[in-house]
Symmetry: C2
Subunit: 137 residues, 2 copies
């Protein structure tokens, strides 16, 4: 039933827009996401970060420039391949990441608390399926 797809597409688009409006952070959602990727992947190349974030390298370059200005990350030359760059999160970046994630998710967390237990369980189960869809093909 295509209407299932329609309903889900609509709901995801709307909720995404709603969440963006709730930002209570100095970092934009995208900056936060990239900072998280840098933390997760360890010293990683911009190319690897772009692949993980499912965006093109120029988009990552721009965000890395912003994060470098704040001192949350640093770029190091790759000793083995002069074309590559390794990106690392700083100690301050790590601390910031934790604080900002809490703030970013605060609104959604509040909303989830208002749901019935059943509905919360439903969304908890749905989240990994949605994530898998996002990573498809």
């Amino acid at each position: 039933m295509p209407s299932d797809a329609h309903a889900l597409a609509l709901a995801v688009a709307r909720l995404n827009r709603r969440m963006r409006r709730e930002r209570r952070s100095e970092l934009t959602p995208t900056q936060l996401s990239v900072l998280g990727a840098v933390a997760l992947l360890g010293p990683a190349t911009p190319g690897a970060i772009a692949a993980h974030e499912q965006v093109k390298p120029p988009s990552v370059t721009r965000i890395l420039n912003q994060l470098t200005e704040t001192g949350y990350i640093s770029r190091l030359p790759d000793p083995e391949d002069g074309r590559q760059v390794l990106v690392e999160i700083s100690a301050g970046g790590h601390l910031w990441l934790q604080q900002e994630r809490k703030r970013r998710d605060a609104w959604l967390h509040e909303q989830l608390q208002k749901l019935h237990g059943e509905e919360r369980d439903l969304l908890r189960a749905a989240a990994p399926v949605l994530k898998r869809l996002a990573e498809a093909e």
Copy 2:
């Protein structure tokens, strides 16, 4: 558990990005969404459309201008209040809307087909809850 919120926020943001990349339409997702709102709300003011789409009036004005150029909608003066404008979908706009919705949701529909029946049921149940969250507060 805030990590529930985090997992869900991440999944929604990623899937939204993924869906946007799959556009196979002449209309952008936002244009399509506004066109759908005009169809749903019938002759409606830009203000009402903005409220329904959860965006500010200037954003709607811009999109209405684009849709007017294509002939999918038309603006009429409100006979009772000269400050207001009524926006209507045209016959061609209606036809286009149906075709474009199918195209827009085609990718997600394919992905849903690949899931197990249980997972599809899960997402079918989750969609209205997600939509409700998006409309909260």
